[in-house]
C-alpha cells in the first residue's frame, strides 16, 4: 500500500487488532485467529511489511499443554512403508539359520491370521537371514551387514524388537500405526500433536510430509493422503505434503508474469479493500482473512529458502549419500527434514515405499537398504552435531515385519520372499528422551512372536506422545458425541526406554 492511501485509511494492523471501534473486541478476534491458527502475531506489524512474525501455521496449542515438561520438542518419523524385514535387518536369530529349509514348527504359528498371500501351513519353510549379522558399538546391538551406516550409529539408537500390530495389510496397518485406527478417517499423530501443541515455526506448516521410493522398485504401495490426514480435526492440522518437484507446495509459485513485487502490490490492494469492508461489516472473520493472505505471502519466501541447499557444506551433503541433491529421494528428504526442524517444523513424516519383499529379498531389499541406510544414519549424526538430537525424537520403522518363513520356492534364491508379519517387528528410536544404545523387548527364537515386553502400536503412540509432554489419555477431541484420542482406549507408555 502506498503511504498516501495508508494515511487515507488510517489503519495499521495494530489499530485493526486493538481497536474496538468496529464493534470488534480483542477477545472475539483472538478467538477466531486462534481457531484458524493465524494468531500469535506481534501486533505492531503493519500490513504490507514483510518482516516480523505476523502469523504462523499453528502457533497456539491447547491451554494446559504440554501436560508435563517434554523431552522432545519435535519429531522426525522415518516411516519405512511396506514392512521392512525385521528378520533380515535387526532381529538376529541364529536358530533361523540352523532350521533353514525346515517346516516352521506349528506351535509357533498356531492359528495365526496371515495375509492371503501366505503359504499353506505345510509349505511354511523357515528361511535364514540372507546376510550376516554382527554386534555393533559399545552397546553390542545386532545389526545386519545390510545396514553398514546404521551399524555405525548403533550406540545412539534404542531398538524396540517386540513391536506388535493388529493389521496384516499395508493400508490398514499404516493407518493403524499413524492414526490408531485401521480404517481411514482418524487424525494422524502429527495432526494430534499440531492440534495439541501448536508449533514453534513462524512461516512454515507445523506438520510436513515427504515421500520417496527407490528407483526400480516393483511394488507400488501407494501413499494415501489419509496417512497424514487430520480426520475429524480441522483440516488445518493435516500434514502438508512437500512434493519432490520444483514446486514443493501446491500453488506456491506466482503465476507466470506475476513477480513478487506485483504480488505484494496485489495483496496491498486486497488488504486495503478488506479493511474497508471490516469497518463496514465488523466481522472479525475479515481479520483472519487478512492474516491468512499475509502468511501466504511469507510462505512464498520461506519455502524456497528452506529448499535452497546452496548453503549446505560439501561434507554435509556427502554424508547423506549420492542422491542427496535429487528431489524426491529419501536422502534428499532426510536433509530437508533436518532443515525443517531447524526452522521450527514440529512433525516431519518421511515415508519411503518399497519394503514389501514378497519375492525380492535377494534383489530389491539391497536397493532399499542402499537408499535409506546412509541417509538415516547421516540424519542422526547431523542432528547430533548440531545439538538438535537431544530434543528431537527420530523414529525409524514400518507398519509390520515379515514372516520368518519363506514366501516362494526355496530352490529359487533369486525370488525368495517373505510375507507380512504383524506379531513381531523392530523399530528404532533415537534422540529426545529415549535411552541411547539399548535394545528393548524380544521376539522368540524364530522371530515369530514378541515374547518379552511386547510393545503394541498403541504403546508406541503413547510413548511418542509422552516424550512430547502429552498424556495420551488426556489429548482428546469430541466428535460424534464422544471424546476420541489417538490410542483409543489402549496404550501404555514404555517407560523402560525413557532416559
Amino acid at each position: 500500500m502506498d503511504p498516501i492511501t495508508e494515511h487515507h485509511l488510517g489503519i495499521t494492523r495494530r489499530t485493526l487488532l486493538q481497536s474496538s471501534a468496529y464493534g470488534l473486541g480483542g477477545a472475539a478476534l483472538s478467538w477466531m485467529l486462534n481457531r484458524d491458527g493465524l494468531a500469535a502475531a506481534p501486533v505492531d506489524t503493519k500490513i504490507g511489511q514483510t518482516a516480523g512474525g505476523l502469523v504462523n501455521a499453528g502457533a497456539q496449542g491447547l491451554p494446559g499443554l504440554p501436560h508435563f515438561a517434554p523431552k522432545a520438542k519435535r519429531v522426525i518419523y522415518l516411516f519405512q512403508n511396506g514392512g521392512p524385514s525385521h528378520v533380515e535387518l535387526f532381529d538376529y536369530k541364529p536358530k533361523l539359520q540352523a532350521m533353514h529349509g525346515k517346516p516352521m514348527p506349528e506351535e509357533y504359528m498356531n492359528g495365526k491370521r496371515l495375509s492371503t498371500m501366505s503359504a499353506k501351513a505345510s509349505e511354511r519353510l523357515v528361511l535364514g537371514n540372507i546376510e550376516p549379522f554382527k554386534q555393533r558399538g559399545n552397546s553390542g546391538a545386532w545389526v545386519s551387514d545390510l545396514m553398514p551406516y546404521t551399524a555405525q550409529i548403533a550406540d545412539d539408537l534404542c531398538f524396540v524388537k517386540s513391536m506388535q500390530t493388529d493389521a496384516v495389510n499395508h493400508a490398514p496397518a499404516i493407518s493403524f500405526l499413524l492414526s490408531g485406527a485401521q480404517l481411514p478417517g482418524r487424525p494422524t499423530i502429527g495432526s494430534w500433536l499440531s492440534y495439541g501443541l501448536g508449533s514453534a515455526n513462524q512461516d512454515l506448516p507445523s506438520y510436513v510430509v515427504m515421500t520417496s521410493v527407490s528407483k526400480g522398485t516393483s511394488c507400488g504401495q501407494i501413499f494415501y493422503d489419509f496417512y497424514w490426514g487430520s480426520g475429524f480435526l480441522p483440516t488445518r492440522y493435516q500434514g502438508v505434503k512437500f512434493r519432490g518437484s520444483s514446486e514443493p507446495v501446491l500453488y506456491l509459485s506466482n503465476p507466470d508474469g506475476v513477480t513478487r513485487e506485483t504480488r505484494r502490490e496485489m495483496l496491498d490492494d486486497i488488504q486495503a479493500v478488506n479493511q474497508l469492508k471490516m469497518q463496514q461489516v465488523g466481522d472479525p472473520e475479515i481479520a483472519t482473512r487478512i492474516a491468512q493472505y499475509e502468511m501466504s505471502y511469507r510462505m512464498q519466501a520461506s519455502v524456497p529458502e528452506l529448499t535452497d541447499l546452496s548453503d549446505e557444506p560439501k561434507h554435509v551433503l556427502e554424508r547423506y549419500g549420492p542422491q542427496v541433491l535429487e528431489p524426491g529421494t529419501f536422502a534428499h528428504n532426510c536433509l530437508m527434514a533436518r532443515r525443517m526442524v531447524e526452522r521450527g517444523v514440529s512433525f516431519v513424516q518421511l515415508m519411503h515405499a518399497g519394503w514389501d519383499q514378497h519375492n525380492s529379498l535377494t534383489t530389491e531389499l539391497y536397493t532399499q537398504c542402499r537408499d535409506t541406510d546412509q541417509p538415516s544414519a547421516a540424519l542422526i549424526q547431523d542432528l547430533k552435531e548440531r545439538g538438535l538430537l537431544e530434543d528431537t525424537l527420530v523414529i525409524w520403522g514400518g507398519e509390520f515385519g515379515r514372516t520368518p518363513f519363506i514366501q516362494g520356492d526355496l530352490a529359487n534364491r533369486a525370488r525368495w520372499g517373505r510375507d507380512h508379519h504383524p506379531y513381531a517387528f523392530t523399530v528404532w528410536m533415537a534422540g529426545g528422551g529415549v535411552k541411547p544404545g539399548i535394545t528393548y523387548g524380544e521376539s522368540d527364537d524364530l522371530a515369530v512372536n514378541a515374547v518379552d515386553s511386547p510393545v503394541h502400536v498403541h504403546d508406541l503412540q503413547a510413548t511418542i506422545m509422552h516424550l512430547l509432554g502429552v498424556d495420551h489419555e488426556r489429548l482428546t477431541y469430541r466428535f460424534q458425541g464422544r471424546q476420541f484420542r489417538l490410542t483409543d482406549v489402549h496404550g501404555k507408555v514404555v517407560s523402560a526406554i525413557l532416559s
Binding site: N254, D256, K277, V281, E285
Partner: protein, 840 residues
Amino acid sequence: MRYSPNTRLRCLSLSFATVVLGLASASGGTVDFSKEILPILSENCFHCHGPDAKGRKGDLRLDTRAGALLKNKEGAAAIVPGNPGASTLIERICTTDKDDLMPPVKSNRKLSPKERDLLKVWIEQGATWGTHWAFVPLQKPPISESHSGNPIDIFVRERLAKEGLTPQPQAPRRTLLRRLTLDLTGLPPTAEEVANFDADTASDAIERTVDRLLASPRFGERMAWDWLDAARYADSNGYQGDNERTMWPWRDWVVNAFNRNLPYDQFTTWQIAGDLLPKASQEQVLATGFLRNHAINGEGGRIAEENRVDYAMDMAETTGTVWLGLTFLCCRCHDHKYDPLTQSDYYRFYGFFNQTPVNGGGGDPHTAPNLWLPQGDEKDRLEKTKDEIKKAEQAVGSAWKASVDKRVEWIEAGPEVDAKDGDAGKKATELAAALRVEEAKWNAAQRKVVQEAWATRDESFKKVYDVLEEKRKHFRGIESALTRVMVMGDMPKPRDTFVLNRGLYNEPGEKVLPGVPESLAGTTQGLPGNRLGLAKWLSAPENPLMARVTVNRFWQMLFGIGLVKTPEDFGVQAEMPVQKDVLDWLAAEFCANGWNVKALLKTIVTSETYLQSSHVPPGMAERDPENRLLARGPRFRMPAWMIRDQALASSGLMSGKIGGKPVRPYQPSGVWEEATFGNKKYVQDTGESLYRRSLYTFWRRIVGPTMFFDSGNRTNCSVKPLRTNTPLHALSTLNDTTFVEAGRVLAQYALQTAKPNPEDRLRSVYQRVLARPPSLDEVRLWSAGLERHLARFSADPAEAERLLAVGESQRDGALSVPEHAAYTAVCVSILNLDEALTKE
C-alpha cells in the same frame, strides 16, 4: 464455523456462553431434565454408568430412572427423589475424598459447582425423568395467536427479546440477491439478473426470485455437492490400484432428483432400497448407488471376507449418520456409551446391508450387482446387434437341421479324440461327454461345444456359425464398454448375520436378524425385514430423527452452522439446540408437507431471520461469535468449489453443460503421478471441459482434486463443513490457473465493453463478481493499483505477455498488452477479496 474444545473453554469465559447456554433454573424455575440434567449425566457418568452393560461399573446405571433409584444391598440409592441428602450420587459428587469422588479424578471429567447445584435442585424437585430431546416425537411448537408471519421469525424474535436483542434490518437488496443466488444455485447472479432485480420493486420480488432460483437447473447441481460429500462419492475405488469406476450416472441422478423436487422420503427410499420396490424402475435401482459409493480395497493379500464386512459396515454407518444423526461406529465393539444403542442393534442394522452377493474380493470397480447404462447410440447399436444375432441364430438353426443326416454318421463314428493335452484335450473330452447326451437335453455349453466341433467338419454350417459367433462377439464388445453403476441387490437366500466380537470379521457371536435399533423402533409392524422396511421406518412420521437431521443439514448449508451444531450426532451427547423451536417447527412442517425440499428451503430463505443484514453490531462478535442466536444474517466463507464456480461464472468462462462423465480441469502437474508412482497419469482436458462446474471434476479418491481444499475426504461420510482458513487456500485462489485465467477473461470483458476509464471498467468487474458497484474509496484504491501495475507491465511487456498466456482460452489480440495484464492483476485481486470469497 466450528470450534474445538479449547476454544470452547475460552468461549465459556465470555458472557456469550452464560447467555446462550444459560441455565433456566439459575433463576429458580423447574429444572428441565432433557435440557439441563441429561447432558451432565451423559458427559460425566454414562461412560461407566450408562447403556453399555459390559462396561458398567459398580452395577449402577444412571441412564434410566429405575437404575438410578435402585437400592443397593445396604438400602442406599444413587438418587432418592426429593431427598438430595440421602442420594449417594450427591454424596459422591461432593465428597472431598479423592478416592471416592465422582467422576473419578483419573477420568479427566469434572463437575462444576453449578452442575452440582443443578443436580441437587433437580433431585429436590423429584428427579423427574424425560427423554433426550432429539428422540421425542415431532410436534409443532405452539405459536401464540398474537403473532403472525414466518414461524422461524416468531421463535427467533421471542428468543432475542429474552436476550434483550433486536434483529438486524434486512440486508441491502444487492447483497440479498447475491446471497440467495449463491445459496440456491452455487453461482453469483448475472449482471442481467441484478438489473432485473433492481427494476423489480414489487413487494413479492424476493419470493419470486426464490422461486426462479429453485426452478433453475443450477439448483440441483448446488444441492448435489453436499450430498456427494455425505455419500463419500468418488470416481475411483481408493486404496491400491484405485481403479476408475463409473458411478457418475448416480451423481447425475442426484442432481436431477433435487431439480425435480423428488420428495425427501422417496429420495431416501430409492437410495436405500430402490431395488426392492415393486417393479423397480431403472432410476430407482440407480439411486441405490448411494450405498455402493464406498471405497473398495483391492490390495493383494487382503482377506475378502474382511473387506466385505468393512463395506457393509460402511453402508450401515453412513446410513446412520445421514438419516439418523446417530453414531453407530462405537457399537461395532460394544454397546453405545451414551445412546440407547446396543451392539446387537448395530449388527441388526448392519444385517440390512449384509445381503448383497458382493464377496469382498478384488478391486473390480464394477463389482456386481451393476446397472448397465447405455449412453448415446449404444442402446441402438445393442438393439441392432441383438436383431442380427437373432437372424444369425435362425440361420444356424436351419443349417443345423439341414445337416442332420451327415451328422448322424459323424456322431455314430464317434469323433476322434486325439489331442489329449491342454485346451484341445479338454475340448475333446467335453465334446465326447456332450455327445453322450441326447440333443434335446443339451445345455447351452454342450450345444456350443458340439456346434463348434461340427463347424470344423461342415463348410456350409461353418459359414453361418461364424457369422453368429462374430455377432455375439460384437455384442459383448459393446456391452463391455457400457457404463456400469454399482447398485444394490440382495441374494435370494439371506446371508446369516452375526454379532462380531470386537468388530472382527472372523469372530462371529450371536446370530441376529436385520432390524432397527430397539429403543427407537416404535412400531415396525408390517414392515419387511429388509432395506425397504428400513427405508419405510426411516421416513415414517413417527421417526423423529430423519426430519430433524435433514432440516438441520439444510439449515447448516444456509447459515454455516446447524441449529444443532453436530450434524453427525443427534444422540444424547448432542447439545440441545439454542433455537430448538425453530428446528422442531421446520422438521414437523417438512414431514407434514410431503417432504417437500424446495418448499422447506423457501420457508427458510424467505424468513426475515435469513434475510437480515450480516453486519456484526458492536459487541456481538464476542457475545455470539457463531451467531447461534441469529441476531444477524449469515456471513461465512464459501466452500472452495463454490469459489471456483463463481470465478468461472463471473468471468463468463463457465460451461453450462449438466451431467456426464467427469472432467479433468487444470491441476498442477505430477500430482497423481507422484502419489501413484506414475501408475495414474493426469491427462488434463481441453476446451469446454476445463470450465465445467466443480461438481463434474474427476475425483480420484486417493488423491483428490487439489483445488477443493475444504471438501469432505470422499472416503468417509462427511456431513459437516470443514471451514478453516490456511495460507495454502490463499495460494490456490491466487495462483491456480483457473483463477488467473478467470481474472484475465474478466478483465478482457471490462476492456471490451465498458467505457474506457478505470471507474466504468471496475464497475463492470464488481457487478459481475460482487453484484454491486465499487465505492469511491474502492475506485480510488484500485485505480492507484492499476497505475502501478500498468507502469510495471509497460516497463516489462514480456512479463505482461506471460501473464496473459495463462490459461487455454483465446485472448483478444486487439487489446493493449500492458493494460490487459494490469487489469488481469486487479481482477485476480478482486476475486480474492474477502467479500468475493464470502457469502454475506
